[in-house]
Structures are given as C-alpha cells and as structure tokens.
Amino acid sequence: MSFLTLFIIIPLLTIVGILLCKNHLQVKWVAVVGMSLQLITAIVLILVFLAERRAGNMAEVLFVQDNIWYETLNIHFYIGVDGVSVAMIGLTALVVFAGIFASWDIVDLPREFFTSLILLASGVFGFFISLDLFTMFLFYELAVIPMYLLIGIWGSGPRHYSAMKLTLMLMGGSALILLGMVGLYVNSAPGGGPLTFNLIQISKIHISIESQRFLFPFLFVGFGVLGALFPFHTWSPDGHASAPTAVSMLHAGVLMKLGGYGCYRVAVFLLPEAAHQMGWIFLILATIGVIYGAFGALWQKDLKYINAYSSVSHCSLVLFAILMFNQTALTGAIIQMISHGIMTALFFALIGMIYGRTHTRYINEMGGLMKVMPFLAVAYVIAGLASLGLPGFSGFVAEMTIFVGAFQNADVFHRVCTIIAASSIVVTAVYILRVIGILLLGKIRNPAYELITDAKWHDKISVVALIFGITLIGLAPLWLSDMISQGLGPIMQKLLAAAPILN
C-alpha cells in the first residue's frame, strides 16, 4: 500500500474525529491536528519525491498503488504521483491548513462546516493523486459537491443564488467531463482487449484523430469551466463573493486548479493532436480571459469581486500557458497554478479578516486601515505585490516563465497573444494599487474603524503560512521548476510527436 493513500485516509479520519467531538473547540483542534498532519505528510512527500528523483528513479509516476475496484468495467483505484501532482498536493495541503485557521471564528454549526471543508479537501487530494480517470472523476465530484453546502449554508449575500449558480455551472462542466472520459474509455483499446480508464495506459496508445477532435472540446471546456475559461467564468465572481472565507480560499486557491490540472493532465495529455488543431480557439478565449478579467477587476468595488475577477485573469493565464504547448510555458502554467493558489488564498483570507472587522467589503466605505490593522494591511500589500508579479514572490516566477515560454513559439499568432496577455501586468498593477490606495492608505474615513483590532494569533498563523509559501517559491524557484519540468517529460513527448503528424 502506497503512502499516498494517507492523503485520503487522514482527512477521513479527521472527519470521524470531528464527528466524535463534544464541543466546538475540540472540533477546531481536531481539524487543526488533522490538517497539520496532512501538511506534514505533504512536505514529507515532496522531500521523499525529490530524494527519489535525485536517486535516479525516473519512473513516470512514483508511489504507485493499484487495486481493482469494479472489475466488470475495469475500474481501478490507481494512484501515483509525478512532479506536477506533488507540487499541487503541496499547494492543497498549505491552503487547507491556512483555511482551517482562517475559519476559526465560525460560529454556526462548526462541526458540519469543518466536516464539509475537509471532505472537499479530501476530494481535491484524491483528484491529484489518482491516475484512473474514473477515480479522478469521482474525487472531482466529491470536491465540487460540498461546495454547494458550504456556500449555501455558511455564505453571505445572495448565497442561495450563488451556490446554485456555481454548482449548476460546475455540474454542467462535469457532465461534459464525464462524456469525455467515457469517450476516452471507449476508445482506450483500439486494438481490441479490455477497455480501461487507466490514464497512463491511455496515454500510451494512439487515439484516432477523429475521436480526439470529438472528445477534446468536451474535456477542455468541461475542465475549463472550473478553470475559469472565458466565457464560462461567471460563477466565479458570484460564488466567491458569497462564500465564507475558508471556502473562497479553498475554492479559488485549490478547486479552480483542478480545472487547469484537468485540462493539462487529461485534455492535452491524452488528446495531443486535437489539442494542436483546436488549441487556437481556446487560446483566443484564454487571452481574452486574461485581459478581460483584469479590466473587469478594475471597475469593481467589492473586494471579493475584485479578487474574483483577478482570479479569472490569473487562471486564464494558466490555460493560456497550457495551450502554448511547450515545456517552459507548461512549467509556468503549473507554477502559476501554485502561485495563484497560495496568493489568492491569502487574499481571500485577508478579505475575510478585514470583513470580519469592518463588516463591509466595499472599498469606498473603508480607508486608512493601515493605521489600525498594520499586520493585516502589510499582509494585504504583500499579497497585492505578489499578485501584480513583483520579483521575490511566486507570481513573478510563474508569469515570467509563462511569457518566456510562450514567446518561444515561432509564429506571429502565439506571440501577439503573448504580448496581449503580458500587457495584463499593467492593468493588474492598476487595480491592485487602486485597492491598496483606497483601502489601506490615506486617512481613516469611518471613525468607527478607529477601534478595530489587528490580527489574532490564528489569523497570523494562516497569513504567515501563506506568505511563507509565496516567498519561498519567489526566492528559490529552481527546485520547484525543475521538479515540475521533469514531470512534464511524457506530455512533451506526446505533444512533439503530435506536431509532425499534423504538418
């Protein structure tokens, strides 16, 4: 039994623990212990993984475990990790850990809240470790569905509307994914023999170009909905605005990454020729998304909306980079996912904390908060600077890798897209600084805010953990980028092999 299974067992045990608890405080501590354990396991995983690679273990996936689950359809519980999934697991563990602390103040039904939250987390972990399409889909659904409850019950504002919208759109996406996956399954044995959901096996065979062309849009759009592909992104602003803090963090930080990861791991990896042929359509959409999200954020007044649009912009950049089909850009895409995951989680955590103190999210109603809550304000500035791609933070590494990679494509179309996408960094700077200027600097406009207190210990843990993450990647990106870049070997082979077939 591979120790990857721990990533599912620990959350489930934590949930059991939570259900056995007697009071709210115990619930929180059980959640903290469980998720800290998870974080430690993730760190151990990263270290062990790096050690294995250094020791020369160049297998495509490591720590494999394969159990037959449902024999008739050849469904396996097949798990394993490569450099990319290890990185994503690290991200998830960090964000969930911070999320638990960020939702410390939750009052209504904490037991149910933490149960759903951790259930969601286990879905995400399961998604990242599974290599069987069916298992993957199962975990995907497990991650999406608790979101409805979390927003619908603990949300704010028009929460029922938002929860419904979010769930319906994501379910629409997963319907497409299911279709695509079944299509892959049906096409998985062109030379006869048993059909399979096994991702690695499917990647080894050549699916006929017609089937690829048919399946690619389903899978890419299906995952793209979750990855905020324009024009299927509108669940994101409403959903984030209504969700409680930890849910926004997890959702923008991790769940949206499932979309990008799925596009990369399933759509592009398994259907490389169709990706080459049809990529340009989605590339245009992604480029529009990058710019459009940034301009959209410029006009918003609600902090969460600003951040949601900013997420649209950043997540579109992930899709944009995936569609560039070269190793550098793909590495950039993965780093961008991680970087944006941590960064946006930090943003949402801070917005939640600010909202908890000022009881408004409208930037015009606040001002001069730097004076009364220096810790949170400085953290917000750091998050902002990271978001606008300041060197020393992860965003810069990700964006530059993407742009340099994207610019390696020789044709004018890709380069023009790159330049357009790159110009988003200016717009990003504008809206980030606008918010910082109005929200944190200047004089305190509302005298009631003079009495606001700064971050509490649990807030600080959450914020510091996330800031540590972005600066770690920002200052020393080499290990991460090497780890990811090695993991991209198989997909690059497939993409390179696919290119000449078309020409």
Binding site: F230, G368, F396, F407, A422, K443
Partner: protein
C-alpha cells in the same frame, strides 16, 4: 586574478538590513534602527570603494588593454528553456563599478542625512528598512549579469520607489503620487519585458557578456526587416528603451517624476535624482553595443533625450515648488545623458558621447543629490516647499547656502566644477553629430543656469521674508552629508574619466575642447546674469516676462498639459470606455446568457410542473384520453 566574490556582500548587507529592520524594527528604538541601517550602508560603501580600487588599479587589464568584464559571482536561479536561464550574480565592468560607487555613496549620505531629517517621524524604522531595500535592489540592478536579473531588480527598484514615495501614507497626494509612479513605470516595464522577450528569442540568451560581446548573436539575428520597415532587433531595442525611458522619466513617460516629490526629501535625493532615475541611462549603456548595431533605435534614444531635456528645462523655469524645479532639472539632465548616448558611436573617440554620458551621470549624482539634500534642509527649517514663500535665507542657513551654491554652479557648468567637464564633453560630442542638436543643448545649458539661479536667488536672497520660527541650521547628521557631497561636486570633474569608463572599455585620452567650452560657459553665464537681474532683488521683471510670453509660459507652467492628457486617457477612456463596459458586459451579457439559460430551464420546468397540478380530474382526463388514444391506435390505426 583577484577573487571578487566578496562583492556579493555588497548586495547581501542591505538585504539583511531590510529583513531585520522590516521584521524586527518595531522592537528597536527608532534611533537604533537608523544607526543600524546607516552602519550597514557604511560597510557597503567601504566595500564598494575597495571593489572600485581593486578593479581599476589592482586588477590587471585584459590582453588588449581593456578593462576586464567578468562575473564575480554567478548562480542559477531559474531554468526556463534549454538555452534560457535566469542567473543571479555580480557582473563587474567599468560602468557597474562606477555605479556601485555612485549608489553606495549617495545611499550612505542619504541614510546619514535621514537620521536627522526623519527624526520624530512615525515609521522611522520602516523608512530605513525601505531605504535598505532600495539600496539592495538598485545594486542588484547595476551588477546584474543578465538582462533578466536586471529586470527583476528593475521591478524591485520600482516597488521600493513606490513604498518610499508613499511613505506618508496618510497623505492622499503621496498615495496618489506613489500609485502614479508605479503604474507609469510598470507600463514602461511592459515594453521592457516585451523587448526582453524579443531579444531573448532572437539571441537565445539573457547573458550580458554574450549579448554585448564582440560576436554577439544580437548583431546577426533579427536584423532583417520585419515590421513597419524596422528590423526585429530594432524593435526589441526600442521596446527595451521604453522601459529605460519610463524609469528615467523621459518624455512622454515623465509624468510620475514631479509628483514623486511627495516622498521624503532624502528619498527624492537618493532615488529620484541620483540613482534610480539614471537606471534607464545605465540600461542603454549596458546594451550599448547592440544599440550601435541598430542605428534607428539609437536615434530614438537621441531624439527622446534631446526633446525631454529641453522640454523639462522650459518647465523648470516656471515652477515654484523647489522640489519640482529640481525634479524637472533632473529630467532635463537625464535627457542630456540619453542624448549623449544617442549620438555616441562605439569605440575610441567615436565613443566620446558614451563616456560623456557616464561622466555626467557620475557628476550629476553628486550635485543633484546635494541640491535635493540642501532643499531638504531648507524645507526642514522653513516648512514650506514654495520658493515664493522663502527669501533671504543665506544668513540663517550658512552651510546649506554654501553647499547649495556650489551645486548650482556645478549644474550650471561653471569651471572648474564637475558639471562643466561632463557637459563640455556632451556638447563636444553633440557638435560632431549635428549642429542643430548642439544648439538645442546649448539652449538647455543656458536654461539650466537660469532656473538654477532663479531657485538659488529666490531662496537665499530676494525678498526678506518673515518666518514664524526663525530658521536655523540643520543638525550635524544633515550638514555632514551636504559638505561631503559639496566636496564631491567640486572635485569629481577632475577625474580623468575617459581613463576608466569608455564604450569599449579601452581607455583613451579626452581633451578639453576649448572652442566648445567657451560658448558653453558664456551661455551659462548669460543665464546666471538674467537670473540675477530677475531674482537678486525683489522686482516685477519675471512677471512681465511671464506675461509677455503669453500662452507659451502658461502652458509651461501647466507642464504642457501632459498630466491632463494622461488623466483624460486613463480616467475617461480606460476606466469609462473600456473597463466599465467590460464589467457591464460581464454582468449582463456573459452572465446574462448563463442566467438566461438557467431562466429558460427554470421556466420550462415550471411549465412542466403545472401538469402535476394535484387536480384529480385533470389527471383523470389525461388518463382517459390517453387510454382512448391508445385504443384508437391499436384497434384502428395499427392494423396490419
């Protein structure tokens, strides 16, 4: 070969100071943090002097007699593609060593000065930690081994500038100015980034040594015609220059610089006069061999430099805020440096402009920092920025007065002060290239002398103003830097610069061109005389001239309405006509479509559920009709 790896310390010390002061500054007493920061910078200063000494005098030259250009420290930071990787390291060559001296000296002086100037300010340690951050990033920029490292530190410099301009964060003007500075330079950096992308794509490297070496891939690839009649390489160099123009406040990206004066004065002296704003010049100088291979890009540099220079000089004559006058003066001087680079060729006497530009940069750093610090001392004692509220200060502030006068003479180009020598070289180089531009530069010299002495007389002579508190001389920590820099402004001109810094790193002997020097000095004297007539005693001459020039002077007073134009573009066009429609489009069209789909679905299901009405008789009706219908089908219609 000497081991220069200790130069990494020059970078690491301010970084360390920044982290320590930033994280734990609150635990110290304010003064302690100031002294700690200054000590760090002092060590750094000494180290760079040692570096410079060892580099120029101890290190043996290369076989062909040039100064060596080598990597003192280098480590891989991020791998991008097989060929492209970002390294972090220290590149030593004459210009980077020269910049090390400039930056550490001015940084150290500004820090020392700030101990006195910032006394009692809230956020004292914050100030020093930001200053350290700035020193770190600026040094990282100049010693960058590759263009991407330069870009990284370029951005860091931008953000430290942002933080320092917005230091008084409760002041709305400061917040707005910092935002403006960051966004404008960010916009320029986009050009820089695109330029880097193009350059790295064409040449397959970021590395400066490869890029500017004798057989650089940049000379061959991308030189064909590609777009609008210019080669790809030309475009990439123009884009890179856009980045430099943004940082160096060249027209039309200069609008942030005057506003940046909202920051504390030592910051203006350090960042917005001596160091950061010359980064653009440094960038062009760094990539100079490639610029020479793309003459069109170099011409762009020249024209932008020349135009900015005269443009700023004219505006400087009409402003009343002393820091703004100095800001425009900075812009004008940097324009001159850019111009000098633009007219220069590569190698030997051809490269006179390059040498002159670097020389002027070096001298300018000293006298402009001195001017700003002097202005700071004045503001510190009279609590106003406006020269029309000052006058007769010479007897109150003797040290400031003397040092300020020296700086004014230096910038005006009066021999034997430093400005004279470098300006003379620039004019000489300009004369060789084009008479017209030479004349423009002469006018700029005259205007420079005029507005500097306008400033000088208005502050120290002019009308006798009554002050609320009698102004008194600044404390020692402030006057010592003034004196030191004054000595610098007096003496740096005497350095035989062409022995050290040249375009091809091969020393040559530059002569003083007497036929260039005499008219230049004369026109400077004319400017001074006019200023004396106008402002030595209080009179109404300036007003008359101002009115006589009519619309032109009014436009100059309003900075030729460039700010308004930008505001129009950003506020009106981008916000109202791009961002707002997009937000609207998103809410109503994209989201509307989604909501529309759900609405239709909902509506249909609503209709469908009407069938389930709970009305027994309806069910029965449907049931009976269904049964009859089936009977009809099976008995009559389906009879085969």
């Amino acid at each position: 070969m000497i081991d220069f790896s200790f130069t990494a310390l020059i970078l690491l010390i301010p970084l360390f100071m920044f982290v320590v002061l930033g994280l734990f500054g609150n635990r110290f007493k304010p003064l302690v943090s100031g002294i700690a920061g200054t000590t760090g910078l002092f060590v750094m200063w000494v180290l760079s002097l040692i570096t410079a000494y060892m580099y120029f005098f101890v290190l043996e030259k290369a076989v062909d007699g040039t100064f060596q250009k080598f990597l003192a420290v280098n480590m891989r930071w991020l791998t991008l593609t097989d060929k492209l990787h970002i390294d972090m390291g220290v590149l030593l060559d004459p210009i980077s060593v020269m910049m090390l001296i400039v930056i550490t000296t001015v940084s150290f002086m500004a820090n020392l000065y700030s101990i006195g100037y910032m006394k009692g300010e809230k956020g004292y340690m914050r100030f020093f930690s930001f200053l350290s951050l700035f020193s770190f990033s600026m040094l990282g920029l100049v010693v960058a081994t590759n263009i991407f490292q330069m870009y990284i530190f370029w951005e860091l410099v931008g953000v430290s500038s942002y933080l320092l301009i917005g230091f008084y964060y409760t002041k709305d003007a400061a917040v707005a100015a910092s935002k403006k500075a960051f966004i404008v330079t960010r916009f320029a950096d986009l050009g820089f980034l695109i330029g880097i992308l193009m350059l790295s794509y064409l040449t397959g490297t970021f590395d400066f040594i490869t890029l500017t070496g004798p057989d650089s891939p940049a000379f061959t690839s991308g030189q064909g015609v590609w777009f609008l009649g210019l080669s790809t390489m030309t475009w990439s160099m123009i884009f890179i220059f856009m980045g430099g123009a943004g940082k160096s406040a060249m027209f039309p990206l200069h609008i942030w610089l005057p506003d940046a004066m909202e920051g504390p004065t030592p910051v203006s002296a350090l960042i917005h006069a001596a160091t950061m704003v010359v980064a653009g010049v440094y960038l062009v100088a760094r990539l100079f061999p490639i610029y020479v291979s793309t003459p069109v890009a170099l011409d762009v540099v020249m024209y932008v430099g020349a135009f900015s220079s005269i443009f700023a000089a004219i505006i400087a004559c009409t402003q009343y805020d002393i820091k703004r006058v100095l800001a425009y003066s900075t812009m004008s001087q940097i324009g001159m440096m850019m111009f000098a680079l633009g007219i220069s060729g590569y190698g030997g006497h051809e490269g006179l402009g390059y040498m002159a530009s670097m020389f002027h940069l070096f001298n300018h750093a000293f006298f402009k920092a001195l001017l700003f610090l002097g202005a700071g001392a004045i503001i510190h004692s009279v609590h106003t920025n406006y020269m029309n509220e000052m006058g007769g200060l010479w007897k109150h502030l003797p040290i400031t007065h003397i040092t300020f006068l020296i700086a004014c003479l230096a910038i005006a180009g009066i021999p034997p002060l430093s400005g004279f020598f470098s300006k003379d070289e620039i004019l000489a180089a300009g004369l060789e290239k084009s008479t017209f531009l030479y004349l423009v530069m002469m006018i700029v010299s005259g205007l420079t002398a005029f507005y500097m002495f306008r400033l000088y007389f208005s502050i120290f002579w002019g009308k006798q103003t009554q002050y609320e508190h009698t102004p008194h001389e600044a404390p020692k920590t402030m006057t010592i830097p003034l004196l030191f820099l004054a000595v610098g402004a007096l003496l740096t001109g005497l350095i035989p610069f062409s022995n050290f810094v040249t375009s091809d790193r091969l020393p040559f002997v530059a002569h003083l061109e007497i036929w260039v020097a005499i008219p230049a000095v004369l026109i400077a004297l004319v400017g001074m005389v006019i200023a004396t007539l106008f402002y030595r005693k209080e009179n109404n001459l300036p007003e008359k001239v101002f009115l006589a020039l009519g619309g032109f002077s009014k436009a100059a007073y309003h900075k030729f309405y460039i700010d308004e134009l930008y505001l129009f573009i950003t506020k009106k066009i981008i916000f109202n006509y791009i961002s707002r429609p997009i937000a609207w489009f998103d809410r109503h069209i994209v989201d509307g479509t989604m909501n529309g789909i759900s609405f239709v679905t909902n509506e249909i299901s609503f209709r469908i559920r009407k069938f389930q009405s709970g009305q027994l008789q309806q069910y029965a009706l449907v049931f009976v009709s269904g049964a009859l219908f089936l009977a009809l089908i099976f008995i009559y219609l389906w009879t085969n």
